[in-house]
Symmetry: C2
Subunit: 370 residues, 2 copies
C-alpha cells in the first residue's frame, strides 16, 4: 500500500528535481530506485541514526547494488574537514566511480557534508537527500547548498550542488527529540515571516498542533515551507539576490553559533533568537511596526525557542563575529530585515548605532521603547 504524497517541484533547468513528501514514504520500495545513477551506492548517516535507518535504507536498494556505508559521529562539530576527508577516503577505498550515488540519511549535518562530498568526489557525483529532522526537511536538504564548518566560521567551505531528489518521510518526526522539533520550527516560522503573511497567521493558529506532532499539521507546514524555499531558490540558485532573504535571522544566528562553538545552541535555536533580533532592528529603523515585531517574538517563543541571545554576548562580540559572515559583502553591513510579517527585504548600510542598540537589549527585544 502506498501512502498519499505531495510533490513539490524545484525548477532549476537541467538540475530540476522533486521533493517527495509522505507519511511512510520510506516503506515504499520504489521511492529511491529511480534516483540511483549506477549500481554503486554509498549510504551516509550518523551513529545515532544508523541502527534505525540503515536497515530500512538497505531494503530500498536493488539486489545488484554495490553498497558502501559511512557512519559519522553525531553532532554539528563533526561537520568538518576531517569527517569530509574520511568520507572521501571511504569512497576511494571502495573504488566508487563517477557513476556512484551518495544517499544522505539524517539531519542537516549529514546532508550538508554528504552533499559537499558528492560535489567534489571526482569533480561531482549524484546524491539523494533523505532528511530525517524537521530542520533538514524544510531547509537544509533543499536548494543545493552544501558545506562543512571551519573553526573560523560556519559553512565557510562548500559548494552549490543539487540533489537528484529529496525524500521526506514525515513519520521520521514522531521520534525526533522535542528540542530538535522546535529547532526545525524556527525555519518554518522564517518562511512565514519573510515570504508569506498568510502562512505566518496559519502558524500562529497551529503552533500547538505542530508541537503535538499532528501529522496533518506537520505535512501542511513542511509542504508550505518547501514550496517557499523552492520558489526562492528557483529564482536565484546561487544566492546573487533574492535567495539572501532565506538568511533572515541567520547572520545573527551564525554569530551566536560561532560564539558558543557549534553545539550548545542548535542551529534553529540560534536562528530563533536571530529572527527576534532582526525584527527588533526592523522596528527600530521604522520599517516594521512594534506590534508585528512582538507577534514574531511571540511565535518564536510558542515554537519553544529562545527569544534572546546568550546573556554574555556583548554587542562588540556580535560585531566581531558578524564581520566574518559571508553576508557582509566587501566590508558593507547588509542584513535581512522585515517590512511586514511575510515581507523580508535586503537592507544595505544599516546604521551601526541602531544595530548596537538592538544587540544591547537582551530580554526586552521587540518591545516598543516608548
Amino acid at each position: 500500500m502506498t501512502a498519499p504524497r505531495r510533490l513539490v517541484p524545484v525548477s532549476l533547468g537541467d538540475r530540476s528535481y522533486d521533493i517527495c513528501i509522505g507519511a511512510g514514504l520510506l516503506d515504499d520500495p520504489s521511492c529511491l530506485r529511480p534516483w540511483l545513477v549506477g549500481r554503486e551506492v554509498c549510504l551516509v548517516t550518523n551513529q545515532t541514526l544508523a541502527p534505525v535507518y540503515l536497515p530500512r535504507l538497505r531494503a530500498l536498494l536493488p539486489g545488484e547494488a554495490r553498497v558502501t556505508e559511512f557512519v559519522m559521529e553525531d553532532g554539528e562539530r563533526f561537520k568538518n574537514f576531517e569527517t569530509l576527508s574520511a568520507l572521501l577516503e571511504t569512497l576511494l577505498r571502495a573504488r566508487h566511480s563517477r557513476a556512484t550515488t551518495l544517499v544522505a540519511v539524517g539531519g542537516g549535518v549529514v546532508g550538508d557534508l554528504t552533499g559537499f562530498a558528492a560535489a567534489i568526489y571526482q569533480r561531482g557525483v549524484a546524491f539523494v537527500q533523505v532528511p530525517t529532522t524537521l530542520l533538514a526537511q524544510v531547509d537544509s536538504s533543499i536548494g543545493g547548498k552544501t558545506a562543512v564548518n571551519h573553526p573560523l566560521g560556519k559553512n565557510m567551505i562548500g559548494a552549490f550542488h543539487q540533489p537528484r531528489s529529496v525524500l521526506i518521510d514525515t513519520d521520521c518526526l514522531q521520534s525526533l527529540p522535542e528540542r530538535e522539533l522546535s529547532a526545525g520550527l524556527a525555519e518554518v516560522v522564517k518562511y512565514g515571516a519573510m515570504d508569506d503573511g498568510a502562512f505566518f497567521a496559519w502558524l500562529e493558529a497551529h503552533m500547538g498542533a505542530l508541537r503535538a506532532r499532528d501529522p496533518e499539521a506537520l505535512g501542511e507546514a513542511i509542504a508550505q515551507s518547501c514550496q517557499a524555499k523552492a520558489r526562492v531558490v528557483a529564482a536565484d540558485e546561487r544566492e546573487g539576490g533574492a535567495r539572501a532573504l532565506l538568511n533572515f535571522g541567520h547572520t545573527f544566528g551564525h554569530a551566536i553559533e560561532t560564539h558558543t562553538g557549534y553545539g550548545p545552541w542548535l542551529h534553529g535555536e540560534a536562528v530563533g533568537a536571530g529572527m527576534v533580533l532582526a525584527a527588533d532592528l526592523s522596528a527600530r529603523l521604522g520599517m516594521l511596526s512594534w506590534e508585528a515585531a512582538a507577534r514574531l517574538k511571540a511565535l518564536v517563543a510558542a515554537a519553544g525557542l529562545p527569544v534572546a541571545p546568550p546573556s554574555e554576548m556583548t554587542p562588540d562580540r556580535f560585531l566581531e563575529l558578524m564581520a566574518l559572515d559571508k553576508k557582509v559583502l566587501d566590508g558593507r553591513l547588509r542584513l535581512i530585515l522585515l517590512t511586514a510579517l511575510g515581507q523580508g527585504v535586503i537592507k544595505e548600510g544599516v546604521p551601526l548605532a541602531s544595530l548596537q542598540e538592538t544587540l544591547a537589549r537582551g530580554a526586552s527585544l521587540c518591545q516598543s521603547p516608548r
Copy 2:
C-alpha cells in the same frame, strides 16, 4: 608599449572568458585589473616562483587592493588536501569575503589547487589563471577542471570552476627548465594527435624550433593548442562526452604517476609514454596503421619525452591502478584511442587481452609485430 596579442575565446554561456596570449603580457598594467571582482585579491604561487613573479604581479594590482599572498611548496606532491586547507585558512584569517579574487601564478599544481580553493571558498569565488609553464598554458589553466590529489589517486577530489580569465605571457617559457618544456609539449602533441592532423604535421616540422624556444613557433603552438582545448570544452563542459577525448594518453599516464608516487615522472612525461601505449593499442586493434603509430612515437621522442612506461611496471600493476581511474565507468574498460593522426575516439569494451599485450611490450611499442 603593448606587445601584440592573440585572444582565444572559451564559449561557455555566462561563464565564457578569453585566453589572452602575448609576449610581455605581464608588463602591461591593464592585463589583470578588468578581472578583479572587488578590492580583495589573493596571489597564490610557489616558493620557486615567488621571488620572480610576486613583485611583477603586485605591480599589476590597483593601489587600493587589499592583497594577501599564499606561497606553497613547489611540487606535485603538495597539490593535496593539506595545502588546500592551509590556503583556505589563510583566506579566512585575512577575512576575505565572497567578493575576493584568487590569482594563480605558476604551473598546473598552483592552478589546480587555487582553482579548487576558489570553487569551494564560501561556495565559490572568482579566480584568474596566470600559467607560467607550457603545460599549464596549453592545458591545465583552460577549461575549469580543478582538483587536488589523494594518496589513492590523482585529481580524485575537485570541482568544475571556470576562471574569469587566463593570462599567458609566452616570455615565461624562456626560463623554463628543459624537462618541463618537453612535458608541456606532450599536451601540444596530444591536441595534434586527437584533434587536428594538420597541426600534427606542423608539429613534426617545427619540433626543433619549439625545443629551441623560437618565440613565433611557441606562440603558434600555444594558440593552436588553446583553440583545440577551448573547442572541446565548449562542446562538453562537464566531461559527459567529447571532453573525454582530451584524456588521450592520460589513463595510462595517471597509472604511471600513481605507481611512481607523483614527482619522479612529470605529468607530461607520463602522458608522453601513455600516448605511445594508446597508439600501440589502437594499431593492435586494427583501428590505426602501424605507420601512424610509429609517427606518434617518433614525435613524442622528438619532444624529448619517454616512449615507454617504467620498466618495472607489470601489466597487472597497470590494470590495478587503472581500475581506480575515473575514466573507467561502472566497471567497464573505456579508453581514448586513435583512428588516425588527428582523430581520437572513445572506445568502450577494449578486449583485456589486447590491452595486456600492449602493456607487456616495453621498448618495442608501436612497431608492427609482423
